[in-house]
Symmetry: C2
Subunit: 876 residues, 2 copies
């Protein structure tokens, strides 16, 4: 028979799949002898069974829970539901992956009228007990029964108004007694039943409710964003209550063993005296920094510091811990590997290697490659920050430089962001409901809450810039205004800038600049480079991009889209003339003008990337993409090139395509207009000749796009080779160059053995290959892909991450076929998945030699490639 319940002492940290992260770590800590309130974990398998059983707890499972509850009673010497010596418990979720705040919790279970009446022995505790009881009633109605808390909260507000008491702290025991009675009435009113006095019912219902919360909207959205599978389910932890809000000798806090923002090796966190844990995380009251605990409760501080160090050494990673002090005694409620900024992740990884706690390989596996992205985002220009007065100061909760229009509600922000606006979410405090809005935001600004508030934790996890607890500002969420100390009023849509590294808020959008790579980051990336065997190139065509790519460690250019060179104002004109030509002669004369630009471009690119290879893709998009769209543009063009508007309009109509993605593009252009390929070849070879004569070593690789048949390839290759030979003879020089093709049409994968006979390299264009293999275009698929995710038909976006079974299989077929005839064929990937870590792992596995991605993603790809190499070694 399956075992669905584990006492904390029965588990350990390696059982997170079964016990969830929280449960596994509570077990581990229990066995380490740390002060952990006793409890047990109902497993994730129980949750899966619950869903299989049509949202019912089986009889056996109920019995197993109650059996373990009895063990807990014995251990604590308290009895659940007993009026004399009651055991009170919390019920908390805990899944395999951390999903902070996404699922539900019920506290104070075990209270009922009888227990409460007996407990009220001392006037001192009366107020606390009623407060706990009314919280249980409200939470139960909300979490178990599914009604919003509003009615309760409104009643509480009205009660305070009526009794003229400003805050909860002003309410005394009688007030709470009265409120509790009224909460029970409200409970009956909205649920149509009495609040359950049977603690066992309370417990079992609460466990089911937490199981259900696995599928609330927030949790689903969070999972989708973080690629967490739907079918994992959550474990549930049942644990004896300890109270940070018992008295002034009590408190609760959250702390990291190192600074999660910068990575500094220092205890970092905050606490609130006389408060429950929820109060710290929710950001309702601004808490004290942990350092001040050293003064107020030195013993507790030292004990906690020791535990933190011990846990860090035990887990070999920075820990994020929750603790509660109940009447002067410290309890640890949770530990986990702490979420951290990219900056911090790298510093901690490097420091842990230096401290001898982990190996370089382990360090490399510690950092999520995508997080590196955050490090590469621009910062505000120094001079502009120095010369701009800030309008407010808050806590530097998550670094970065974010500018945008302010929005006060997540839904407004999402709407604006979908229209392409850069937006900043401004809230009094954030709550899990804001999660989607935070995802769309450039940055987050909250007025309340500390460094470990919801906003701060989530923003750091997402890599969003965040400033918290900025109480310099007065917010009116209803009116959608923000008032500065100087009385300046900011309205929805106004622009501000947030410096997440300093906590400073500025008006308007400030100019930014590129970051420098140095220090720990540089060392970390060096380790990655030492270990990986996949080469990383970049997609770039401008000198600026090429330079950035090289700075970020690219080993050449894997995709230079020559057509991007034609869109600049002074170049589009001859290009358009070329398209509108009626004769070969006219076309050749326009191409001559273009040739000069191309030649110069290539000279510069060769210079920047020397001696690394550059893969130059020949003209790819359909010609109509270059023609004007509006009447005005047509009029202008007509004037400029002395052609009638009618002629241009006619030509535009001629070139119109029903499915441009599957139209006259790629090598099909070179086949109908060989003179274009000739021009591009002349430009490359002449530029290369010039550079070689200046002793600049280089390695051009000419890539023919959209090949689906060996004859297409050979036809264009013949043009290239003939033209190159002529230019080389004229220049009296020999230039080594390769000719290869992009594999992006399904047919090319099937006939790779034919194509590979004469090709020197393949570069998989996974964007188009994905589109054609699935038979949907990226532009149009958005109309139905959401339905696909909702209905769990697709678990991931096939354009973001390689579809291993389908598109990936075709790639494998292509490689297998190609290797039969050409063992030295160079194999690369130049689709956007070339910079996506999971895809990189796959590409490594199937024998790809390099990936090419956007310059910004080069460091991500370097790290992902290192991780892929480490995993491959492990699996051998």
């Amino acid at each position: 028979m399956a075992k669905y319940v584990y006492l904390f002492q029965e588990g350990n940290k390696d059982m997170r799949e079964l016990l969830g992260g929280k449960g596994a770590n509570l077990a581990e800590m229990t066995n380490l002898g740390l002060p952990i309130p006793s409890g047990f974990t109902v497993t994730t398998e129980a949750c899966q069974k619950y869903y299989r059983d049509h949202s019912e707890l089986s009889k056996e499972m109920e019995e197993e829970i109650l059996k373990n509850l009895h063990i807990l009673e014995e251990k604590t010497g308290k009895i659940f539901g007993d009026a004399q010596n009651p055991l009170l418990v919390s019920v908390r979720s805990g899944s395999r992956a951390s999903m902070p705040g996404m699922m539900d919790t019920v506290l104070n279970l075990g209270l009922n009228d009888e227990v409460v009446n007996k407990l009220i022995k001392t006037k001192e505790k009366e107020r606390f007990i009623y407060d706990s009881y009314r919280r249980l009633i409200m939470m139960y109605a909300n979490v178990v029964k599914g009604y919003p808390k509003e009615k309760f909260e409104r009643f509480l507000d009205e009660y305070k108004t009526k009794t003229k008491k400003a805050t909860d702290l002003d309410l005394n025991a009688e007030d709470w007694c009265q409120i509790t009675a009224d909460f029970k009435k409200i409970y009956k009113e909205i649920t149509n039943e009495e609040f359950p006095m049977n603690p066992t019912v309370q417990l079992l219902e609460a466990i089911k409710a937490v199981f259900r919360s696995w599928n609330n909207e927030r949790a689903i959205y969070y999972r989708k964003m973080n690629n967490i599978p739907e079918d994992w389910g959550t474990a549930v932890n049942v644990q004896e209550m300890v109270y940070g809000n018992l008295n002034e000798q009590s408190g609760t806090g959250v702390a990291f063993s190192r600074n999660p923002s910068t990575g500094e090796n220092e205890l970092y966190g905050e606490y609130l005296m006389n408060a429950q844990g929820e109060d710290v995380v929710a950001g309702v009251r601004t808490p004290q920094p942990i350092s001040s605990l050293e003064q107020s409760m030195p013993n507790i501080y030292q004990e906690f510091k020791k535990i933190a160090k011990m846990l860090e050494e035990h887990y070999k990673d920075m820990q994020d811990m929750e603790f509660t002090i109940e009447n002067g005694k410290l309890y640890i409620l949770q530990t986990r590997n702490g979420k951290r900024t990219a900056l911090s992740a790298i510093k901690i990884a490097v420091d842990l290697v230096k401290e001898g706690l982990i190996t370089k390989e382990e360090a490399l596996l510690r950092v999520e490659p995508n997080q590196i992205n955050d490090l590469l985002h621009p910062t505000f220009k120094k001079e502009s920050i120095e010369n701009t007065p800030c309008i407010a100061n808050g806590l530097a909760a998550s670094p970065g430089a974010a500018s945008g229009h302010i929005y006060f509600h997540a839904h407004d922000l999402i709407a604006a962001s979908k229209k392409g606006e850069k937006a900043i979410l401004v809230r009094l405090e954030t709550s899990p409901e804001d999660i989607e809005g935070m995802h769309y935001a450039e940055g987050i600004l909250t007025i309340r809450g500390g460094m470990t508030s919801h906003a701060a934790v989530v923003a750091r996890g997402m890599g969003r810039t965040c400033i918290c607890g900025c109480n310099d500002l007065l917010i009116d969420e209803a009116k959608k205004t923000l008032i500065t100390k100087d009385g300046m009023i900011l309205k929805e849509g106004d622009t501000i800038s947030l410096d997440g590294s300093t906590g400073k808020v500025y008006k308007d959008i400030l100019p930014t600049e590129e970051v420098n790579i140095s220090g720990d980051f540089e060392m970390f990336m060096k380790w990655a480079d030492e270990i990986r065997n996949l080469k990383i190139r970049a997609n770039a065509e401008t000198i600026q991009d090429a330079k950035m790519a090289m700075k970020y460690g690219a080993e050449g250019i894997g995709l230079c889209r020559t057509e991007h060179m034609f869109f600049a104002k002074e170049r589009i004109l001859p290009f358009r003339k070329m398209i509108l030509s009626n004769t070969l002669e006219e076309r050749k004369s326009s191409l001559k003008e273009i040739l000069e630009f191309q030649e110069k471009d290539f000279e510069q690119l060769f210079l920047v990337t020397s001696p690394n290879p550059i893969v130059i893709r020949y003209l790819d998009p359909p010609l109509h993409e270059f023609l004007p769209k509006t009447t005005l543009e047509i009029q202008e063009l007509a004037k400029e090139i002395h052609v009638t508007e009618e002629e241009i309009t006619k030509r535009i109509a001629d070139l119109k395509e029903i499915n441009p993605m599957m139209g006259h593009r790629g090598c099909r252009l070179a086949i109908t207009y060989p003179e274009i390929a000739q021009m591009q070849t002349i430009a490359i070879i002449k530029a290369a000749a010039k550079m070689i004569k200046q002793n600049v070593p280089l390695s051009p690789e000419i890539m023919i796009p959209l090949v689906g048949d060996e004859k297409e390839f050979s036809y264009v290759k013949a043009i290239i080779d003939t033209t190159a030979k002529e230019v080389m003879q004229k220049e009296n020089i020999k230039i080594e160059y390769k000719v290869g093709t992009m594999i992006e049409v399904p047919r090319a994968t099937i006939l790779a053995d034919e194509i590979a006979k004469s090709a020197e390299f393949f570069s998989f264009g996974t964007n188009d290959l994905t589109q054609m293999t699935y038979g949907f275009s990226r532009d149009d698929a958005s109309k139905f892909l959401n339905s696909y995710y909702d209905k769990k038909i697709f678990l991931q976006d096939p354009f973001t991450r390689i579809d291993e079974k389908g598109v990936g299989k075709l790639m494998e077929i292509a490689i297998h076929q190609a290797h039969k005839v050409n063992k030295t064929l160079e194999l690369g990937v130049c689709g956007e998945q070339g910079g996506e870590p999971n895809s990189i792992q796959f590409f490594q596995k199937i024998g790809i030699q390099y990936v090419s991605c956007s310059p910004y993603r080069v460091p991500i790809a370097r790290l992902a490639a290192a991780q892929a190499a480490i995993c491959e070694k492990k699996n051998k």
Copy 2:
């Protein structure tokens, strides 16, 4: 060393690859002892070598030709170039496949001033000799030197005007002597050199010219149309001249051993006395029917008849023969299997089986499946023909009922036809230059020429309706008018109708009706059905099409495109309402209206096809295809459904797709709007229930289109199964139905093993599969495919004939994968290639069980499937 020249006695009929069709048959007939003028053949390999040698004859080849010329001299007792006893020869092309009139011929080689002067011994022959000489000069200038004949012809016309002589026959020996002298002057004028007096030069140059004519425009176009490979080349036949224009005891003719139009077993042909062969084929003079030869030259007639019978028995097929009578002696110049109409092809095949000459299998292989198409084309309605007076009578040269606008020049007709107009080509007589125009024409009408004229032969080969020698009509090609006996004037663009079975021409466009299948055709198709193992279904959704399909022998419907049922006026409205719905409720209410139509449709389809299967494809095209396109239509719709124009316009804009082929369509619609699939299921199951209750057996197969992932399939299948179960419960009936999918997305082929687990059938949608595998859309590919053909990158249209290596390979992968998990999976093809004979051969090979094609193509597919089965048996 290769042998490039074969004397006729050295060859035989099986050497057509080497000697060409004409050469191989001349050799065969020589060895049969028939009266064949002596000669030799320069092989097709020589032609290929000529092209490889940059259009030069090698020294060795020249020597080999001259060596054989000497043997010919010995055989004939005549000497080439000798003034006393000159050998005169013809040089004619002859490729592996018959390409009538496409390549060049030079006659009378061996004549020069010296020979001619000596030959003119009798006044009687003088006229003939000059005429032959001037023809040689003109032909040589034209064929060898490449100048048009015009200048010569114009001179001849002017000479006749000047001398007031109406026709060539009025010119006497002195005239021809003078003309010959002038022709030599013209020759020098245009070629800038003297006409060559050296016969060896004449011969070798003529051979090269014939080699070159393999690549003239007409020949290239003909090869492309008939899928004849470029690299075959032509052989050249050098043969002693015999003269049908020597005197009144001479003549020339063309005859078939059976009637090529109807297949009747009767000698069928025509001849002209005192004429050269070219005169008959060119249709310049209207010849006599062969039967009249029986009276005028009974011995010759009997001799020819005997030879024709002998050749037919020898070749076991109907023969097309050319003969010449020189001064009372019969010579056979050519025999080949005769081109014939579909009607005739089938009758002859059936008759030959009856006569015991060939087996049923051989008979089935004798008919080109595509030809059957011609038999199925409609004929004019009896009553309309009976009630319409015809405006002219001509020869019924090629059967069929053709109506259209008249054009007098091929290029005008091609232009009109490309605009979508149905057109009739009207010419005094056609010549090889008209070949492309004839291809585009619905029918051909010539004023001159007989049953074996160029127009008649080519039209029959192409399956075009043709009326020849319609000299009731007066034509003015320059003015583009046609005048009837009654003085009615028809101008370019006016409409006429041609009945190719009666030779009658009507004014205006007459209504047509379907043909009946019976007699020989029925028996022939029965043989095909006995032998084939591939089932043939039809693509049909209307009752009319379904009925026609069943009449033509379809074994069910292989593709019922349900969306085609929505385009009718009264149905498009609720469909549009459905698309424009804002809520699920609105959508459901519109679907309810549609449901009623669908249900009735299916009832009728079940009735028509019972008990055969119907594969019903669920809604496939993107929704925007159903919405109005013009402002006017939008206004109307707005009024009809009480929605503002803006709303409709907005929705149209919302639904617009960049690449509709790769957009929101196929099963993607059923996933976003499950209610559509529900409605379609209800309609099918309810209709089926009703029919079964009426004892109509049926077999519905529900096809989910555009599946690329097993989960897509399962999701929609679940909707179908759930809905069907509900309806069946309500109707209290059990209905057997299958659920399968169309395989048309490359990913589906790769993941076929997953999809086949729950699918009951696969139907390959080769249209879309081809588009996505190649990555080009049919609509857009026309812009570059011509370049691909010109540059020999593609040898065939991949949409017409299956691409075996690419698309076909994916099909094989899919079948292999699917069979691993599902041995009973039904496999079909429902793309247009399902009716293409070569593709059918491939489908048979890879294990497809049925093909589905348009109703008209069903008989073609039946025959092609029989041929595929015969070939498979042979290859075993």
